[in-house]
Amino acid sequence: MKISEVPQDQGMMTDDVHEVCYALDKDGRYVLAASSGWEPKNITNDQAWEVIEKQVTKALKDIHAGKQSPLAFHMAKNQMNISLLSKYVRFSRWQVRRHLKPAVFKRLKPDILERYADVFEITVKQLQEYPENIDQRFYRNL
């Protein structure tokens, strides 16, 4: 890759951030060149976020249908599954699975809710809330 070929396709990065990659200068010597992104990377990064969006959408659907507790939304939004979340809150997996049931979640004690809220870095009140619909491209303003 020559310096002139270093892609500058902005997509994932904000204005003040860029990455460096290795490219050849006109004498054929390797130098570090700044790049603000590359289309194939932007496409695949978007794809990864679409997957997360889908999981959040599904969680919201389940919550509205009364199948899951609001915990499911926050779990999906934080890109976690039951096993990862259980490690963060230091509950066992079956406990987390139980807390995902709406009826159980409603009766949870404040100190347990606190532990979840702490992991997601939100308040206990926010933990009990969930939006009606998913924000399109919500990751841009997480």
Partner: protein, 333 residues
């Protein structure tokens, strides 16, 4: 409290941290050189290890391997520690900082507040250097960012104790002794040998050049085996592994080519310049693969972007790389 630490923007976190830490102690070493001596180049297609339910493909060696091999080869003393308790981990960090020692930390990427939101995934393979503390805020040289950044204590604890696969467990490390003079030549030769051996001679079909060929054969089968949607996800994951996680482009192949070029000067061996160019070509082919694969991800593929064509590019990458490693073996023998 702030240590006078020179932050140098790098392409990859671990090789960047390694070269920056050594530079702090007066060993002038570039990132590419650190990567090459540390034997960072690798290929492995590991379909049985899943990241987000998708198979893992890696273009670099194991986490920590670059730093470990590099410091051993040039005779630098290193102190390593893992922790159970976050409190103790932070105390140990503070203590070292007070003594004026910049400390390398392994962290997860998700909890670092200065990461652009588009990059915030759970991956636990990130390295950074902490070089100061002001009140509750830590000054951090994260090599993949242009400037030093700031992170508060709570977030740093979370990042150091990120959970999941390859959890960092608060790992920190710093240099304890540095030789007065370093002779890079033998270290370079050893580093090259390691990479060649690993890429050509690892038994089994999934590692090294054979691994690339294996992947090529698999890619062709994906559409039939998995259907459109899943294939698209598999390809996406592959490209992210190749390009996204601070690889310097072309799945670290360009960084390695830069290393070979630098090594040519140190060893006074012109054949390495030629091999650097060949490695660059291999990297260019990897980039072509990424372009075609991403078109397939987005359903924008034209007729020439078929899966057979992609596999052919991969086989070409394998052939080109195999040639480079074989010739390298002859040069450093």
């Amino acid at each position: 409290m702030k240590i006078d630490f020179k932050h140098r923007h790098s392409a990859h976190c671990e090789s960047g941290v390694s070269s920056n830490l050594l530079f702090h102690y007066g060993i002038d070493i570039s990132e590419a050189m650190a990567f090459g001596i540390g034997g960072g180049l690798f290929f492995g297609y590991l379909p049985f290890i899943k990241v987000n339910k998708l198979p893992l493909t890696t273009f670099r060696c194991e986490v920590g391997g670059i730093f470990k091999r590099l410091t051993r080869k040039i005779g630098v003393g290193v102190y390593w520690q893992k922790f159970r308790s976050p409190e103790k981990a932070m105390d140990a960090l503070d203590h070292s900082l007070e003594e004026g020692i910049p400390v390398g930390c392994r962290t997860g990427g998700y909890w670092l507040p200065y990461f652009p939101s588009a990059f915030r995934f759970h991956f636990n393979m990130h390295n950074l250097v902490v070089f100061g503390k002001e009140g509750d805020k830590y000054l951090i040289s994260d090599p993949v960012f242009p400037e030093p950044v700031v992170c508060n204590r709570k977030d740093l604890i979370k990042a150091r104790f990120a959970k999941g696969a390859l959890a960092p467990k608060g790992t920190m490390y710093y240099l304890t002794s540095v030789p007065e003079k370093v002779d890079f030549s033998p270290a370079i030769i050893k580093g090259i040998k390691e990479v060649c051996r690993r890429m050509l001679k690892t038994p089994g079909p999934i590692i090294g050049v054979r691994g690339i060929r294996f992947l090529a054969n698999q890619v062709e089968k994906w559409p039939k085996k998995f259907g459109k949607r899943k294939t698209s996800l598999y390809l996406g994951q592959l490209i992210r592994m190749q390009e996204e996680l601070g690889t310097g482009g072309g799945g670290f192949r360009f960084m390695y080519a830069a290393f070979l070029q630098e090594a040519a000067g140190i060893l006074k061996e012109n054949r390495l310049l030629d091999l650097s160019q060949k490695m660059t070509k291999a990297g260019d082919r990897w980039r072509e693969f990424a372009v075609v694969a991403s078109r397939n991800c987005k359903n924008r593929a034209s007729d020439s972007d078929s899966f057979e064509a992609m596999s052919d590019i991969l086989r070409d990458c394998a052939n080109r790389e195999a040639e480079v490693y074989k010739e390298l073996m002859a040069v450093v023998h």
